[in-house]
Point group: C2
Chain length 331, copies 2
DNA sequence: CTGTTAGCGCCTTCAC
DNA sequence: GTGAAGGCGCTAACAG
């Protein structure tokens, strides 16, 4: 693989000149510029990133740590973040933590070793040792989606209260009184915020305040199914179910189908925080609060780049959109 | 950030000794070993990856280029590939090409600059200039999911013929004769293979061979919807529809619902190449050929690592599983 | 505007 | 088993 020395030799200039031309420094004559560029093209020269990173003490690489890339929310977010970063000349290294603190720490070590210029973090739970170390260092960090206690990095996330309000309004418009709410873990800020917003708003929207109708899972399908079964076991028969995220809605629906059968299930309307295209074809169709995952990813990258460039970044809540697929709706 | 020099000084040994200890060389005394390790821990030492890469002329980084990370198939594949790579001490850089050759080339440049040790590639279309250059170099490469003309790198992908055969058997068992098939682009090997397997096998499974029932989209929902409409416009009224991938099934279903209404749509059974959990709750439930995306990702990484280590790798077709959700089925 | 050179942090050979 | 030193490819500082 050709080095800058080869390029310089072929162009008949010194390495310094070649370096200046290739990194776009203005201090170069048109003559050497064209000769260096030509030589580089002929040799198929591609700069050695590690060498450049070593010398410049920066890598132009951002680390993105998500809890589970298979979650559509995160895969859309990651996609958008990568696009935004590349538009600014940065590369993104993506890693999963699998909702596991030990894996998260292993990944953070890799990131540290790679000397990433900044970290986009969607935290799993409480602070881990590696994370503490990173926070103590001067590595620029922004939080995505979930906040974490004792960390004051800027947060880019969904407007959970706003999203729940949209769902509540829809429930009221549809005339639902007996609504089951399946939340997520209180230890996740997203779980807590959605839960709190629901409890705070239900009465004003004409929804029964019996807490027998409220339970929580773990934001995964199985946990949500169990929560739904607990509600049914208490003798409640809701006319609508509100799932606090996509997997939760899936689990709740599975529980309802298995316990009550498809026919009875079709009498229950589901609303979901997190939208899925297939909702249009369920019976009845499922309406949903749609997260703007791409915008969260882009805003997070912009904030992080501001931090990297010595500026400041402020937390941002990205608005949700309500997708109404109920019978009477225009769509 | 602490360097190996700091560690050596604190441990009272030479940098060479520190390096040997930290990289697990056996030629170290227990004494210096423990002192170096202690010093490293106290300093929170994490080796500088770029410096190490520069010196060793390898990075322990693999590049993974997929056409669209938002596609669940690829997000699962990427997740598994990353896990497998990490288990072997490698880091994965993930990038999207957005089904766009120019973006793919931009990404390949970044990969080349990062001096990745190997490339996992899910090609979009024909060879691009950058890809040609990479193939000409001695960079180890494996193909994922799709093959590409004129490239003889090992391919790790779905057993398309086997998957189609599973669907055909199911269609026969369900007694369907008038089956619509919505394929993907012939320019993708996956599209061509599924299409060919369907045409070759339909007659033997008692399915009508009228080509008015066959059309192709672009593996995206909109294109598939248009293909479905073309079939309906020809006056055909299938009792079952076979979508050649997940988005295709989505588009076909949308077209059927919009054109015929929900009631008539519920008389048509859908089968899909690519499984989605929500299929269980459609009416009627959708059966599907489930790709083993995680295994494809793992096998690809294993093959690539074999190549990197100077061994050989052979193409592999990963078996599919049929998920039968039809009325009479046990599930 | 250009050439020369030091040195980023690490590994590895070469002596001892 | 250990210390000393060179050099990977690049950029930036310094002369000219």
């Amino acid at each position: 693989m050709a080095t800058i020395k080869d390029v310089a030799a072929r162009a008949g200039v010194a390495v310094g000149t070649a370096s200046r031309v290739l990194s776009g420094s203005p201090q170069t004559s048109p003559d050497s510029r064209s000769r260096v560029l030509a030589a580089a093209a002929e040799l198929g020269y591609i700069a050695n990133g590690p060498a450049r990173s070593l010398r410049r003490a920066r890598t132009d690489v951002l680390g993105l740590l998500v809890s589970d890339i298979r979650n559509p929310f995160f895969s859309e977010l990651a996609h958008a973040a990568e696009q935004e970063a590349r538009a600014h000349g940065y590369t993104v290294i993506l890693a999963n933590a699998n909702e596991d603190a030990a894996q998260a720490d292993a990944v953070l070590d890799v990131f540290a070793s790679q000397r990433i210029d900044g970290l986009l973090l969607s935290p799993q739970g409480p602070k881990t040792p590696r994370l503490e170390a990173l926070l103590a260092s001067d590595l620029p960090i922004v939080l995505l989606n979930r906040s974490i206690e004792g960390v004051d990095a800027p947060l880019y996330g969904t407007d959970n209260a706003g999203g729940v309000a949209q769902a509540l309004k829809w429930l009221q418009r549809r005339g639902h009184r007996d609504v089951a709410f399946i939340g997520g873990p209180e230890t996740f800020s997203t779980g807590a915020e959605r839960h709190d917003a629901y409890l705070a708003g239900r009465e004003a929207h004409g929804i029964c305040t019996d807490d027998a109708l409220v339970d929580a899972g773990d934001f995964l399908a199985d946990g949500a199914a169990e929560a739904m079964l607990r509600i049914l076991d208490r003798g409640a028969l809701p006319t609508a179910v509100f799932g606090a995220n996509g997997q939760t809605t899936l689990g709740a629906m599975r529980a309802v189908h298995e316990r009550l059968g498809a026919e009875a299930a079709s009498l229950i309307e589901f609303v979901s925080f997190d939208d899925v295209e297939w909702f249009a074809f369920m019976s009845p169709p499922v309406s949903a609060v749609k997260n703007d995952a791409p915008e969260i990813g882009r805003a997070g990258v912009r904030g992080l780049l501001a931090l990297i460039n010595g500026g400041t970044a402020t937390s941002q809540r990205i608005a949700t959109t309500f997708i109404d697929r109920s019978a009477g709706s225009a769509a």
